[in-house]
Symmetry: C2
DNA sequence: CCCGCTACTTGATTAAACAAGGTAGCTGCC
DNA sequence: GGCAGCTACCTTGTTTAATCAAGTAGCGGG
């Protein structure tokens, strides 16, 4: 269960992921962590998601509103702004392009190491 | 084309990419930059590749040897160590897993924003 | 009254890409 | 012989972001 991944791989991916989830449905930090787990990103903790949300709000990609809860403190629901939707579209295109390139290489079998240069042409 | 604008997306991907290229063929920094451009990663500069190579060598993933050149200073050829091959296999698996998950979401059309919670069940 | 769940926040640490700059070897040209 | 231009490598500082760890609180139940 892909819990082992290099934390660096997530960089730059989390923001579009959060934007996508928020586009699907207005949500709050705690729930987003659980939704991420549900889709397979089990290693992402609150300490990663909350700062990411603050960053996105500071950049104007999402906006928030507080909604009272019966089962705990008020929840800060986020939804994308117009700018957020635009960012999501761009970031998605960037990701798909990079993923295609990287997959194109990495999913190809590693060729057996051939020739070794000794001097130079 | 393929010029990804968000540098963060590259994080964690460059190392396996370099290991793959070196598994295909022993190579040196300057050439690796060009090979990366060839496969579509046009925005990657020397200032990114050289430190990455140093890091990989310091970690024992690759080893180097100097080969004289007729057309400039000596080239530092790198090739993966056994540890490097192992790392490549792991990192590839990690990448493919993450890419599948992220693609699964992002390549799905963004659903129209539905319901808004007003109070709480 | 305290425990446990919910929910958000902050600070310190770490990793990595990037821009910009610097050193130097080699060839060819005038 | 000297200079331009390509080849090749290395370094430094800046910025962005994820992670861990810890802390603050609201709320309900025993």
């Amino acid at each position: 269960m892909g819990t082992t991944h290099d934390p660096q791989l997530l960089k730059g991916v989390l923001s579009p992921l959060l934007l996508w989830l928020l586009a699907e449905r207005e949500s709050y930090g705690y729930e987003l962590v659980q939704r991420l787990r549900t889709v397979g990103l089990s290693g992402i903790s609150e300490g990663t998601v909350y700062p990411a949300l603050s960053r996105l709000e500071r950049e104007g990609r999402i906006r928030s509103r507080l909604v009272a809860s019966h089962s705990g403190p008020a929840r800060k629901y986020y939804q994308p702004t117009d700018s957020g939707y635009a960012t999501l579209a761009e970031a998605t295109a960037d990701w798909l392009a990079l993923a295609a390139t990287v997959n194109g290489l990495l999913s190809r079998p590693v060729p057996p190491t051939p020739a070794a240069p000794t001097e130079e042409e």
